[in-house]
């Protein structure tokens, strides 16, 4: 037995971390792709709503791998940037097992994102994952995907991208993704990673959507840590991509001419070019809007709301900040404070109408975040402007990937309710019509 384990440890030509999920070794008799070949295709409706699930305790990267196993993926392209998650390495194992048809390591993220564009344009289902600096390096390609109407799923396991360098999860890179025109989900935990990736493929390829989906999580907290994930049997998978259903025709390299740029005038600065750009981008963002119904159908809505009605205060959060907020709600309850929680799952499209409705009578909103700029607080304030008189505390925030102590959130709820001065939130991040600056903040007042 120990001999077998030694052999396994030597199978590590690229020096990647060894995991317990190495590719199966072929003894020459058993087909290593046998299980993959036996997978049965089921409808997305059956997969998401009806298929029985069993619970496992796995890492976020393993959850992503299991989602890809069931998603009938044709092409996965990896680049092992540091920092990274083990996701693409594990997807490589799936390739070895025959669950993914093509897989290779790109030169770097510019090449990877271009390869995903090419793969998607040629009509196959594509997946990649990157993190932090990799996201930003690939951003040129990523920002062009929606305009080219390329269905694909990309996983962003957020890490620090601003200086000073760190490799911990700070989700400031989401702020860049929000304005691309792609659909953006923010996963709280391993279960969300699993569900959002699979639903992402189904939503991405709908005819009236035909857009890439970015599934973000706060890297490391979710990718490297374990959580419970309820999963369908590995013997079933989603239907393959049917590229002819897409909003734009696929690139047919067999029958030239194939043009990526639709019309020559696009490249010139004249009224035709501006007009085309306007029409093109309007259509991209209209497609983002149209994805709402599919998010409701496959993911059960763009947000979840718990205990909002009649609560003293409401915490609005996405990603890991949600997880911390759940504990903050529990600690508040032990202190006799009745606090509600709204978890935003989909950042693009943003649940504007839902928040307007939910926050109409709320007095205090606390928006904890894992980044410096507070992109979610701004989104929330913009969405409910004119529909709610709530005082919005844009904080607490942690930077550089620090884990947010739950106690900080409790502090903000308490200070917001009692009028005690906030210790952690800048004056500029406390919003709302009836806020008296002298009463709310003493932290970085001059900013």
């Amino acid at each position: 037995m120990s001999e077998a384990l030694e052999a396994q440890q030597k199978t590590n030509p690229q020096g990647d971390p060894i995991t317990s999920v190495a590719a199966p070794k072929s003894d020459g008799k058993k087909d290593p792709h046998a299980d993959a070949k036996r997978q049965k295709i089921v409808t997305p409706e059956y997969m998401f709503h009806e298929a029985p699930r069993t619970k496992e305790f796995i890492t976020g990267s393993e959850a992503a791998k299991e989602a890809i196993r069931r998603s009938n993926v044709d092409l996965a392209v990896a680049y092992p940037i540091t920092p990274q998650s083990e996701t693409m390495q594990l997807v490589g194992v799936l390739y070895g097992e025959g669950y993914v048809k093509e897989y290779y390591r790109g030169e770097e993220e510019v090449g990877v994102m271009a390869a995903i564009a090419g793969g998607s344009r040629s009509g196959v289902r594509c997946f990649t994952a990157t993190a932090g600096p990799g996201t930003l390096r690939g951003m040129e390609g990523i920002a062009s995907w929606p305009g080219h109407r390329l269905p694909a799923v990309a996983m962003f396991t957020c890490r620090v991208v601003n200086a000073p360098l760190a490799i911990q999860p700070d989700n400031i890179e989401v702020a860049y993704l929000l304005n691309c025109g792609m659909i953006v989900f923010h996963a709280e935990n391993q279960q969300d990673m699993f569900d959002f990736i699979m639903a992402g493929f189904a939503i991405s390829e709908k005819n009236d959507v035909t857009l890439p989906v970015g599934v973000c999580c706060d890297g490391f907290f979710v990718t490297h840590a374990r959580g419970y994930v309820r999963m369908q049997d590995r013997g079933i998978k989603l239907p393959p991509r049917e590229a002819w259903r897409g909003a734009v025709p696929v690139l047919d390299a067999e029958n030239p001419p194939a043009r990526l740029s639709r019309d020559a005038p696009v490249q010139k600065s004249n009224f035709m070019a501006y007009n085309i750009h306007a029409v093109w981008q309007q259509e991209v963002w209209a497609a983002v809007e149209r994805s709402r119904k599919y998010i409701s159908k496959y993911m059960g809505g763009m947000l979840t709301a718990e205990n909002v009605e009649g609560a003293d205060a409401v915490i609005i959060a996405s990603g890991s900040a949600c997880a911390q907020s759940r504990e903050a709600v529990r600690l508040c309850k032990e202190k006799g404070l009745n606090v509600g929680l709204i978890k935003v799952r989909s950042l693009r499209p943003f649940p504007t109408q839902e928040l307007r409705q939910l926050c109409g009578k709320v007095k205090l909103i606390v928006v904890p975040e894992f980044n410096y700029v507070g992109w979610l607080a701004k989104e929330v304030a913009t969405a409910i402007y004119g529909y709610s008189k709530a005082k919005i505390i844009g904080g607490p925030r942690v930077y550089g990937g620090q884990s947010m102590p739950v106690e900080l959130i409790v502090d903000e709820v308490e200070s917001g309710l009692t009028g005690k001065k906030s210790t952690n939130v800048a004056l500029s991040s406390i919003m709302g019509g009836a806020v008296n600056p002298d009463e709310v903040a003493h932290f970085m007042r001059s900013i």
Binding site: M1, S2, L5, E6, Q9, N12, G15, D16, P17, I18, T19, S20, V21, E56, F57, I58, T59, E62, E86, N189, D218, F221, V222, H224, A225, R226, G227, S320, C322, A323, Q324, R326, E327, R330, E334, Q402, S403, M404, P405, V406, E407
Partner: protein, 238 residues
Amino acid sequence: MAKRFNIRMAGVGGQGVVTGSHILSTAVINAGGESTIVPFYGSEKRMAPVESYVRVSDEPIYEIGEITFPHIIIIFHPQVITHGKSYTMPFYFGLKEDGIALINNDGPMKLHKDQARELEERRAKLYYFPATKLSLEVAGMDLATNMALMGCIGAITGLTNMAGLEQAVKDRFLGKGFVVSGGTAALDSVVERKFKKKQELIDKNVAVMRAGWNYAVDHGWASADVKRVEEPAAAASA
């Protein structure tokens, strides 16, 4: 109210801090509880600082990431305190009032007077536990230090049992979905060569764990409902 412990473990590379936390976590789940872990380390090398954060409870746990305000801290190596080999300084930073510090040392350590005062102010309970000594005595090697500590903390929290811990050790060494880093995999092969047979390895680890469990019970650290467990004579004599 939920029974809940946020545990911060600090040690040095090679001691099995991350492995120990995986085993405790799995053991609590084996016993029907809830647990999450977050490992935290820089370069993987011997004697470099390592931290691992384990949350254990009898109710669902949602919180993620590092633990800033722990109920319990476990110090795997006295150098964490004496040499500051830790990501968290001083070692008790953020320890909640009435919290526990379980320290692997043969006896009480002489702490700086400011540190002693601050620990007293937050009514910290200091448990000095000779884990490495126990590992050497019971298994003949210091590499089971983490097992002694996990046995001890298992009894202190009262959220797992010996069957759950034993199963977790078996899962660890017989490989059941256990993701290890390259450094840990290399260390595993050293351990395996030393013990040759896996079963022997598991038996010795479990024996150290049992000794750690009983140490906690004997010193009155264990949770109210926790009893002594049997220590197999065969393993102890090896």
